[in-house]
């Protein structure tokens, strides 16, 4: 069981990720945009962060950069939720310090296994 932070501006995606990860026995906290995610990350301690890229207020790339600047999130696995069309965003995400990505659309099993991959 791990503490996971999910950041996505889409309520349905957030809901789906939260429900899925909870069903896998994780504790999950969610946030609707990068800034809110950063605030939650600062006030808590998470074993992994899953974030969307396109969000209002602060996008996913900015969030990753900001997280990597925090000493407590320097090596924490951060997964980006991307779509197949944003290949260059993956590169930008890696550049910013993301650990890996999960390509949308994904099913719950894929989500669980991908998260398990970074938590091992």
């Amino acid at each position: 069981m791990a503490q996971i932070l999910i950041v996505d501006d889409s309520a349905s995606m957030r809901n789906m990720v939260v429900t899925t990860l909870k069903s896998a026995g994780h504790q999950v906290v969610d946030a609707p945009d990068g800034q809110a995610g950063l605030d939650k990350a600062k006030s808590g301690r998470f074993d992994a962060v899953v974030t969307d890229l396109n969000m209002p207020v602060m996008n996913g790339i900015e969030l990753v950069k900001n997280l990597r600047n925090l000493s407590s999130y320097k090596y924490t696995p951060i997964l980006l939720l991307t779509t197949e069309s944003s290949m260059d965003k993956k590169a930008a995400g890696k550049e910013a310090g993301a650990t890996g990505w999960l390509v949308k659309p994904f099913n719950p099993e894929k989500l669980i296994s991908t998260v398990a991959r970074v938590l091992s």
Partner: protein, 704 residues
């Protein structure tokens, strides 16, 4: 454990529709050609992107495919590679409609009509093709068809992997040990680390990786793709060689894989592209397709579709939470007090009870606020509507929206939405003059429609105003005479004449247009508003304009009621329906056709309804003389209710009788009074028709 995707559908539908609203508004605020605010394009892109992500995940393939094309175009616009033209904005607006229809169809579990989306996809692809010579068209199909070229035979294999990560690999949270664990899951793994680059302790930087590895994976059934997938995330940050080594023939197919990221990424796509159809539940093709094109016809279903849930600002919930906290404190204080109560604590008790009253009141208000939404939800559809309409009929119209943050109960909002559309259409069609007419009159060329909302007392007032030609009293009067609605010799006041336009079958438009003026409408508008317990008023001045004011109760859950007693029973009469209450003077009572009593109220003859008779109960007073009469108005008809006593006026919480018992004629619901007894809320129009039906029946019986 299987996760039921269906549980997320509702949220997805709701947020997609919200996203489409944002998209539409942003599109409408854009001036084509000119320098567009990047934030606006970003908003539009985000909305499309979210819908695409969600629809893909939840298996709505048609929506996902369509939004993919939209997104591609918007992405180019966002990157400044493409400037949105008038034409493409129009296409995007039509796409909003199309997506809405698709979502409505999904909500209704109907099959999706892809005709419109196909047409739009084609149009978008054309734009994209023109922009970058064919690069834009969606390659997803091609991707999927690109087969797993190197599907190996299924024998067990041995692999040799050389992994030389860049020093920074740790800083993205990619721990090599984790990768090795994943590899170990694919076969027997042995691992050799190379320390040759490891610097001395002084030079060593703690978070850099100086090691490299040679790994051997034996007896593995994994394909090269599967092994590469393990390194997928670090492929740009390492040197990687994956070699198949067969035990006997060392010179077996030796494939050097340089870290060509593009190639690897593409391979990565394949499993996902293949997964998609698996999780896509095919929509059941049961009913004919959803309504086609035209955003505004769907508004009604949009409202009812979103009735299932409500989004509440966190501050409202927090506030409620605080109040519950206070309530708990009060409760514990009161129970403490009750433990060993004596008369010395009476004062404490009464102050505690007062506090409880305060808490309850605040909580009631707070819960009510949760049901409240800003009226902008209803107003937001108008910019688009006005844009479309003004283009269609060639009038220049500008919309001014005020008071959009005024809050209104969600149910009332849903029901007022359609009448408002009607009023606005009327204002554009009949109110605003053509540009030439306006210039002739010395008015500015562009007409204005004004939407305003504000609170007044316990009501919300919504105004629909225009600066058009105003209502022509004489024309309305003549028309009403012509239609046989009134006699030519009646004297009517101005408001009474204006009120005629709400009569069924009334239309002053010389020509019937497809926007408004079919003669049905205004009467429906008025009926809808009355059914919400509201009123509608018209103010108009020739060549200055018309303002229609709709007064509505803030909520349908609470009613301002007048309690009346008939015998043992207490009934609630909606305060809004009451015209006046009076003591009957017997000389003003006329008996007509047997049972029916009419009371002369100034110039009106008001039928008297004896509640005790209608509901079959015992009353104190059956004598008409000096009895109390509550004159009420329902459906444009005045009647007098005979009651024994007028009690207090108070707000009552409406409970449905139908869901707890069954429908009862003449009663719209029930409420629980302070003493715990149940009181019926009288449905005035219902009671009037029930009573007249009964009296007709009685006279039939007598005649027979």
């Amino acid at each position: 454990m299987a996760i039921e995707m269906e549980q997320f559908y509702d949220i997805f539908f709701e947020e997609s529709l919200e996203g489409l609203d944002v998209m539409e508004q942003s599109l409408l605020s854009m001036n084509s050609g000119s320098e567009t605010d990047l934030e606006i394009i970003n908003n539009i892109f985000r909305a499309a992107h979210s819908i695409k992500g969600g629809s893909g995940t939840f298996g709505f393939t048609e929506v996902a495919e369509f939004t993919h094309v939209l997104e591609t175009l918007l992405d180019e616009a966002r990157d400044g590679k493409y400037t949105l033209t008038e034409e493409s904005i129009e296409l995007l607006l039509r796409s909003c409609d199309c997506l809405r229809n698709m979502i409505f169809a999904l909500q209704a579990k109907e099959s999706i009509d892809t005709e419109q989306s196909k047409e739009l996809i084609e149009a978008f692809n054309k734009i994209l093709d023109e922009e970058n010579g064919g690069g834009g068209s969606a390659p997803s199909a091609e991707l999927a068809s690109e087969s797993n070229a190197s599907a190996e035979d299924d024998g067990l294999k041995n692999w040799q992997i050389v992994f030389v990560p860049e020093p920074e690999v740790l800083q993205t949270g990619n721990e090599p040990l984790r990768l090795f664990k994943e590899l170990a899951a694919l076969g027997e793994l042995s691992c050799k680390a190379h320390f040759d680059k490891l610097p001395s302790c002084e030079e060593l930087i703690a978070d850099e990786c100086y090691l490299s590895w040679t790994l051997e994976l034996k007896n593995s059934d994994a394909s090269e793709e599967e092994i590469l997938e393990v390194f997928d995330w670090v492929i740009d940050e390492c040197k990687l060689e994956v070699k198949a080594v067969s035990g006997e023939t060392e010179q077996d197919v030796e494939r050097e894989v340089e870290s060509k990221s593009a190639e690897v990424h593409e391979e990565k796509e394949i499993p996902n592209a293949k997964e998609e159809p698996k999780q896509a539940p095919k929509p059941v093709a049961a009913k004919p397709a959803a309504p086609k094109s035209g955003g505004n016809e769907n508004a009604g279903s949009a409202a009812s579709a979103s009735a299932s849930s409500i989004r509440v600002g966190i501050d409202k919930v927090d506030n409620l939470f605080n109040l519950v906290g206070e309530l708990v404190i009060t409760q514990s204080m009161l129970s403490e007090l009750g433990n060993n109560f004596d008369m010395t604590k009476l004062e404490k008790l009464s102050s505690g009870l007062e506090q409880l009253l305060q808490n309850t009141k605040e909580m009631q208000e707070s819960v009510m606020r949760i049901r409240m939404l800003p009226i902008s939800f209803a107003f937001n559809r108008f910019p688009r509507m006005i844009r479309d309409l003004s283009v269609k009929i060639g009038k220049k119209v500008e919309l001014i929206i005020q008071g959009e943050s005024t809050e209104l109960d969600k149910t009332v909002m849903e029901k007022i939405s359609d009448p408002l559309v009607h009023l606005v259409r009327n204002a554009i069609d009949h109110g605003i003059e053509t540009a030439e007419e306006r210039l002739e009159k010395g008015k500015p060329e562009t007409g204005h429609i004004r939407l305003d909302a504000y609170h007044q007392g316990g009501n919300i007032v919504i105004e629909v105003g225009d600066d058009g030609k105003g209502l022509n009293k004489d024309a309305i009067f003549n028309k009403a005479v012509e239609k046989g609605l009134i006699e030519r010799d009646v004297q009517l006041t101005e408001p009474e004449i204006f009120d005629l336009i709400f009569q069924p079958g009334f239309s002053t438009a010389q020509q019937v247009s497809d926007i408004s003026g079919r003669g049905v409408g205004m009467d429906v508008v008025k009926r809808n508003i009355k059914s919400l317990g509201g009123r509608i008023l018209i103010e108009s001045k020739i060549d200055v304009g018309t303002t229609i004011k709709v007064h509505l109760p803030l909520t349908l859950a609470i009613l301002d009621g007048q309690l009346v007693r008939v015998g043992e029973e207490v009934y609630v009469v909606p305060l809004l329906a009451i015209v006046e209450s009076l003591q009957i003077k017997s000389e003003l009572v006329n008996r007509v056709s047997g049972d029916i009593l009419l009371y002369r109220l100034r110039e009106d003859n008001v039928p008297i309804i004896r509640i005790y008779e209608e509901f079959g109960i015992e009353a104190d007073n059956v004598d008409i003389d000096n009895a109390l009469l509550v004159v009420v108005e329902g459906d444009g008809q005045k009647v007098g209710l005979l009651v024994d006593e007028l009690l207090a006026q108070q707000q009552v919480v409406i409970k449905s009788l139908e869901s707890n018992y069954k429908r009862v004629d003449g009663v719209s619901g029930a409420t629980i009074l302070g003493d715990g007894s149940v009181s019926m809320i009288i449905d005035i129009p219902g009671l009037i028709s029930y009573s007249s039906k009964r009296s007709r029946k009685r006279s039939h019986v007598k005649a027979a």
